[in-house]
């Protein structure tokens, strides 16, 4: 089949798919933004298996008309972040639950439900909603994010005007086996402000989430998320960020199970002397497919970016990493680092990586590495020779493998919580044998 025919077929499929859907209503400006997204989506088409960017992750179940049902998983222990002093916002199957949530207020904080912001005559979100998503379509198309901008039904709009003491904690509960959630959050961290956003929970049988973050000059944004343990859930998420001058952006994601997860992170470093770190620790056992796709653009001088992704895989689990550092002309003194590693606990699992560097400045230091391997026999024997039983030694070495990613979490209390979850996962796997 010719290229043009394939493209046309893709567009036809997309048109059919969205035909029955209607755009949420709101203020005229918001409806215009959604309409613009829909028009863009119809012009690019939803992703297909033959798309280069989706070579290793099949998008079929993410674009299908109805979600594949996912059994609701009930964990025995309290959810992650329960012990953290936080501002808790709860979404149940993608719908904001005001009763279960804290009041939408806090010092140095403006926070509003997305639908309220998009219904207001005037709101700063007018210049933010879908703006980064739209910009991020070049050089690689991200149609599922565009779908989200057009049809997102809920979310929050957050503005930090100073140091926000308590983390804003977004809790995504999954209660219906066939829920299909589309959430869109917009975050602006004003000059000199400091905000932490936590996310946890499976959200729905199928979850499409976009978060757009603007980190202004001298501002800091910290993001830590734990994607729910529901084994059958599917998720596609996009995290877009622009980073100003002398600003800091840090994001960490822990994923333990989930039949399909695609996490895309797109960061533009636009101001000098800034940093952007993205890290992930994923653990998969059995029918697990986890894809980290990262694109960091350096468009300013003396900035540092880090991508640290670690995946522990067993019983046929599959891990994907597609990471890119783009250094634009003039982005001198860039310090870019990228590492992606797979730890295979058996011969059935698979880790696929595509690390990319594209550099147009001549005075930069960029390093990248990608490895895949088993537990180091030498280290294992060394530990055992000191009296540590084989299973304990394997767990210790697995946690050591993940350590570099976990170290990216700045807040020690949150890092401890995440570490505790990882240990729990290892213990359960061991019990399961």
């Amino acid at each position: 089949m010719k290229r043009a025919e394939l493209k046309q077929r893709k567009l036809d499929t997309t048109a059919t798919r969205v035909d029955a859907m209607s755009l949420p209503t709101g203020a005229p400006w918001a409806e215009a933004l959604r309409q613009d997204a829909l028009t863009r989506l119809l012009a690019m088409g939803l992703p297909q298996g033959r798309d280069e960017y989706w070579r290793w992750t099949r998008p079929d179940s993410l674009i299908a008309e109805t979600p594949t049902p996912a059994e609701v998983f009930v964990a025995e222990e309290a959810p992650v972040f329960s012990g953290i002093d936080r501002l808790k916002l709860v979404f149940v199957d993608g719908v904001f639950d005001a009763e279960a949530s804290d009041a939408l207020e806090g010092e140095n904080l403006e926070i509003m439900r997305l639908s309220d912001a998009l219904s207001a005559d005037i709101h700063w979100a007018k210049d933010a909603y879908g703006v980064q998503e739209k910009k991020a379509q070049d050089p690689v198309e991200r149609p599922l994010a565009t779908l989200n901008t057009a049809f997102a039904t809920d979310g929050v709009v957050i503005r930090a005007t100073g140091k926000v003491a308590k983390p804003v904690s977004l809790v995504y509960l999954h209660q219906s086996e066939s829920s299909d959630a589309v959430l869109h959050h917009v975050v602006r961290v004003e000059e000199g402000a400091d905000l932490t956003v936590l996310e946890n929970g499976p959200a729905a049988a199928r979850f499409n989430k976009v978060m757009e973050v603007e980190v202004s000059d001298k501002a800091a944004f910290h993001h830590v998320r734990a994607q729910g343990r529901d084994h059958e859930r599917r998720a596609v998420t996009h995290l877009f960020a622009t980073v100003g001058q002398e600003a800091s952006f840090k994001s960490f994601t822990m994923t333990a199970n989930g039949v399909l997860t695609r996490n895309e992170v797109v960061i533009d470093i636009m101001g000098d002397d800034s940093i952007a770190h993205v890290a992930g620790a994923a653990m998969g056992d059995g029918d697990f497919h986890h894809d980290d796709t990262v694109f960091i653009t350096h468009d300013a001088e003396r900035c540092e970016s880090r991508q640290v992704f670690k995946k522990v895989l067993r019983n046929g689990a599959k891990g994907i990493f597609q990471g890119k550092i783009l250094v634009k002309p003039g982005a001198q003194k860039t310090d870019g680092y990228q590492i992606s590693q797979g730890l295979l606990l058996d011969d059935d699992s698979q880790f696929l990586a595509k690390p990319e560097l594209e550099i147009y400045a001549d005075d930069v230091a960029c390093s990248h590495g990608s490895t895949v391997g088993a537990i180091d026999d030498e280290a294992l024997f060394y530990l055992r020779s000191r009296g540590v039983p084989a299973a304990d030694a394997t767990d210790l070495l697995t946690l050591a493998f993940l350590a570099e990613a976990i170290e990216e979490i700045e807040n020690p209390e949150i890092a401890e919580d995440i570490l505790h979850r990882l240990e729990g996962w290892l213990m359960r796997r061991r019990a399961a044998g």
Partner: protein, 253 residues
């Protein structure tokens, strides 16, 4: 304490016979040195005793306090009181030296049905032992052996030995890669552990280490066997004349 009887070992993959009938008896509190040319089977002996993979015991047995340890897992041998100071200590990124030590100490205590050391007690103990080996707080915090110099790695082995308080210590070429000062420090660490009950097997190429750690018995190993056993004077003989004379003497005998 330790009794090796007619130990025959071959490499699992290549099938090559490395040990061809080793006999050795080490009593409580004794220090035995094993010397010998490269490839004679010294390190293999230490690995087989500690339970490393890749070796097949085709004949013989190894008894520790009367118990055959060859059927035990490496961690069980450690809990039973066996300790191997590695010739090449392994680097473990992501695991701090402190965590490594605490995990090991408590794993052994647990295996022996003893109570685990509290964090405070452990810390106190490790600081005290580390100090005498000139191991500073930074070395304890760093990942196991990462970025350690040759001497630091060997001192770290002795620290582990001091913390684990084994019954039988095997030192596999602990002197390799050490300068004179480091050798002195390591030897003092070893000597401090000599209490009349704990036994040592010191594997070395050189007499020099034996000036510091005085052996009761010296064995010469060659081609997978112990070919000669004597007192400390045997080590001096090797130092002066090399192994060639000894080997020839045995062959002619």
């Amino acid at each position: 304490m330790l009794e090796i009887k007619s130990l025959h070992v071959k490499l699992e993959e290549e099938g090559k016979q490395i040990l061809k009938g080793v006999d050795l008896k080490v009593g409580p509190g004794e220090v035995h040195a094993i010397m010998g040319p490269n490839g004679s089977g010294k390190s293999t002996t230490s690995y087989v005793l500690s339970g490393r993979d890749g070796y097949e015991v085709t004949e013989g047995e190894v008894l520790m306090d009367g118990q055959d340890i060859l059927e035990l897992e490496p961690e069980e041998r450690a809990a039973a009181g066996l300790f191997l100071a590695f010739q090449y200590p392994v680097e473990i990124p992501g695991v701090s030296n402190m965590t490594f030590l605490r995990t090991a100490v408590n794993a052994q205590r647990k295996a022996r049905g003893e109570e685990e050391l509290s964090a405070t007690d452990f810390l106190k103990l490790v600081r005290e032992k580390a100090k005498s080996l000139k191991i500073d707080a930074d070395m304890l915090k760093r990942p196991v052996n990462m970025g350690f110099s040759g001497g630091e790695k060997k001192r770290n082995e002795i620290l582990q030995m001091a913390m684990l308080e084994p019954k039988l210590c095997i030192l596999d070429e602990t002197d390799s890669g050490l300068d004179v000062d480091a050798m002195k420090l390591v030897s003092e660490g070893v000597n401090a552990l000599r209490d009349g009950k704990r036994s040592f097997v010191v594997i070395t190429h050189y007499q020099r280490l034996l000036d510091h750690i005085k052996p009761d018995v010296v064995h010469i190993m060659s081609n997978g066997r112990i070919i000669k056993t004597g007192g400390p004077e045997l080590a001096l003989e090797v130092e002066h004349n090399g192994y060639a004379d000894l080997l020839a003497e045995v062959e002619n005998a």
